[in-house]
Symmetry: C2
Subunit: 492 residues, 2 copies
């Protein structure tokens, strides 16, 4: 087996990188900044996708698929959006390779196959989608248009980390069109709520719902709603965003509709997305020095069964019992894996399943067969107990619910104890350095102050939480008047 | 409503193009050769994906995700594969745009952001995957490696058609690694069988399983297994391929394993894929001059319910009944859509659902309520019948099964009556021109003859069917000896 993980206190960042690779979630590839998502990591992502997809469909959305490439002339049409992404675009300029005359057996780009117009590999799809919507929307009868896409996107980030920031990542992007401003805002808020529900009920991650400050908004948005989570190292992580795009894209792509009175007006838009970055949030919220800890609602296998035997005869007897147990557990909706590999000893299997965060481990040996018992071990608390097989299914379903809740409560307690109200910049800096987490502070509302605070402390505004009421105060940095507190944090 | 489709006899190709767009399946995009898959088309693709994914998992495969880009040096490593795809590669050469000093408000490629090594947008992923497998495989214990990926790929085709041939398309690609040649061949054959089962049981398309001739093999494969279908115009369509790759990629990427005796050997490989091209096959196999005809096993909605009412009161009464009916149908596993739009008259709804191929239409009006009946109309046969509500669920489930079977049988009859054995080139040409379909003929086994026949007739070898026995004969073109017949056809 691989040796122990670096501990979190020793080097949190190293711990994360090692965990991702050793738990078989993902690894770096031969392409700078692009990752390979390994089967076990992908299985978790598939569970996330399935739940999100169900939630999108339940709220009236349909899936579709739009091109990977965006012609440059479309990409630049919405200026703020283009400006926001131009510096990190992969650009296709040629459509053919040819034999390299100077290097036999090698290829080179065919200089005669230059595209007339360069194609941007989509960093996000507003441009190509709104150019398409132009052909789909004529009147109010065509609205609302509620579409989602599961896709890969590319943003040429210079400093990348597995799941958290990669040049290519997987995501979903919803793109909706509406007849009224109010309806579009309602949609953007609804989808932020969907993300919050998903994070809390499936990922067991408490999130703060709020709005971004202007400088942290999506390029091209009039308002960005977001959910913010807190990692175990006191850094925040933006887990999902939902944008009210106003009429910006409708104007850039000339998408108008005839309202009920027959008058032409520009269409109102939203877009919203979550990505494989959620995998990073999931890992960093719950895991420990032994490895991954998965909430049962997203675990590829909720229960792994490890047989403990000295000979073939014992194995056969155990296997017969396991088949009965598994069938009953599966009938109760529990996903079960029987780890009957003969290439690993039980101890090595235990270590692997611990590293991979399987919520419950069920060990069964010859003496268990005699006693009609099994041993159950919880991954989250590392506690074990002997359970009578007659009550096993009930016990397992109860434990899975309890693990899900325990993980959420633990994360919630941590998060709640790491939101600190401060009233001076000195206090701000001290809390940031000693305690971390979210800091609630008055701010004058200017980008200058945000930039200055970021420059001095590396903390950025995360959001103005929905729960924050208007409150007169004084900016901790500039001393100018402030009308509301905002949450700051160092962030991923 | 849009006007009628061009009929198939009038112009089959035009009929297809119109149907794809009017049935809201897909449309061309602003990017040359790339399509937009619209929500209704995507919903059919999602049903295909779900069934295939289940079948892959049931045969022991796991999903993973590999990078979109392939560095040129990896792309060219397996020479035959590289040669096969070099002429149709989209190539990323730069990673940044900048403001164009000559055109205010426009962007241009930043000449200072040229990649050191060009990145090929994957046309297929053997190269990037086998480069990754090198790190995953050390010994026989790591084998077999059974992985599938759902992804987009890009092949810069010059002549494109919606679903059938597009520059970007969606597909799945399985990539497996094995300790022995026999096991790899068995896997390639197994997955071709899985494809055949899927085509027959879900798409209601009969397929011929066979092997490609050398010239029609996948670039880099030692053997290509395939399933071949026949469209209504007598042209063949390759619906899926499964490749035995020998040790070609293992050698190109130096992927060795230690066998049980500790000896090093190169790993054996397969790859296999089906794509959104299947949508084209589905459309062209079953549809008619009124539009799409969908097999119930892949229809997004198996039953659409259209209320027929003169006033709000009637509508309310019908809706109450529809709610009861729908609940019962859904409980029986039938997917139901209640089309209660008040912007369209029943006749227009009928035409739309016909165009979109919904297998069963259920109409219910005020008199039906009195009589306790509904009207059921089959999309495939266009027949209608009045059905007592008390027997509705049983009737519907029975009809859906019957439609699925009827579509398959009809396609099978057509296909079987369009396989013609010929024994001379004259006969070959006559059958090809007058009847079309598959032509079974003796061929001398040389690429020269294949090329000559293709040049003269546009027909290509489709496959050597698994069902064909060795048979001594004489090549219809060259007169040289032949050991087996092969199927020729004009093909998509
Ligand atoms: Zn603390
Ligand atoms: Zn015919």
């Amino acid at each position: 087996m691989s040796k122990k993980l670096t501990s979190r206190t020793e080097d949190y960042s190293k711990w994360y990188n090692e965990l991702v690779v050793k738990a078989n979630l993902a690894e770096n590839s031969a392409v700078r900044g692009c990752m390979v998502i390994k089967p076990y990591g992908y299985a978790i992502w598939e569970k996330m996708q399935a739940e999100l997809d169900r939630m999108f469909k339940e709220t009236g959305h349909e899936n579709a698929y739009f091109p990977l490439f965006v012609p440059k002339s479309l990409f630049e049409a919405e200026e703020k959006n283009a400006e926001g992404f131009a510096k990190e675009c992969a650009v296709v300029t040629h459509y053919r390779l040819q034999n390299d005359p100077d290097n036999p057996g090698k290829l080179r780009v065919d200089p005669n196959a230059k595209l007339e117009e360069e194609l941007v590999v989509r960093p996000t799809s507003e441009a190509i989608i709104w150019n398409t919507y132009k052909g789909w929307i004529e009147s109010y009868r065509d609205l609302p248009l509620l579409i989602n896409q599961w896709a890969n996107v590319v943003r040429w980030e210079m400093r990348t980390r597995l799941f958290l920031r990669t040049a290519e990542f997987l995501w979903q992007e919803g793109h909706t069109a509406h007849a009224t401003k109010a309806e579009a805002i309602q949609e953007a808020e609804l989808m932020n709520d969907v993300y919050a529900t998903f994070a809390q009920d499936f990922m067991a991650i408490p999130v703060i719902k709020g709005r971004k400050t202007e400088s942290e908004r999506f390029a091209g948005a009039d308002e960005t709603y977001c959910i913010e989570a807190l990692m175990q190292d006191g850094k925040a992580l933006q887990a999902g965003t939902s944008h009210f795009l106003g009429q910006n894209f409708a104007k850039a792509f000339d998408v108008k509709f005839a309202n009920k009175e027959g008058k032409q007006d520009y269409v109102w838009a939203t877009s919203w997305g979550v990505s494989t970055r959620l995998m990073g949030a999931l890992i960093m919220t719950h895991s420990d020095d032994l490895g991954l800890v998965l909430p049962p609602n997203l675990a590829p296998h909720q229960v792994v069964i490890v047989p403990i035997f000295k000979n073939e005869e014992q194995f056969e007897a155990i296997q017969d019992k396991v088949n009965i147990i598994s069938k009953e557990l599966r009938a109760a909706g529990v996903s079960v894996k029987f780890d009957k590999r003969d290439t690993l000893r039980p101890g090595a299997k235990f270590a692997q399943h611990e590293l991979q965060g399987v919520p419950l481990r069920l060990a069964i040996g010859a003496r268990d067969l005699e006693n009609g018992t099994v041993e159950l071990a919880r991954r989250d608390t590392l506690t074990k107990e002997t359970v009578d097989i007659s009550t096993l299914t009930e016990k397992v379903t109860g434990l899975l619910k309890d693990i899900q809740k325990t993980l959420f409560d633990k994360a919630l307690n941590y998060r709640n104890s790491h939101i600190t109200e401060v009233n001076s910049f000195e206090e701000f800096k001290e809390v940031l350095e000693t305690k971390g987490g979210f800091i609630s502070a008055h701010w004058d509302g200017t980008i200058e102050t945000e930039n200055k605070i970021k420059e001095l402390t590396k903390a950025t505004t995360r959001c103005i939480p929905d729960s924050f009421k208007a409150e007169e105060g004084v900016c901790i940095y500039s001393g100018k008047p402030s009308k509301t507190r905002v949450l700051f944090a160092k962030a991923y």
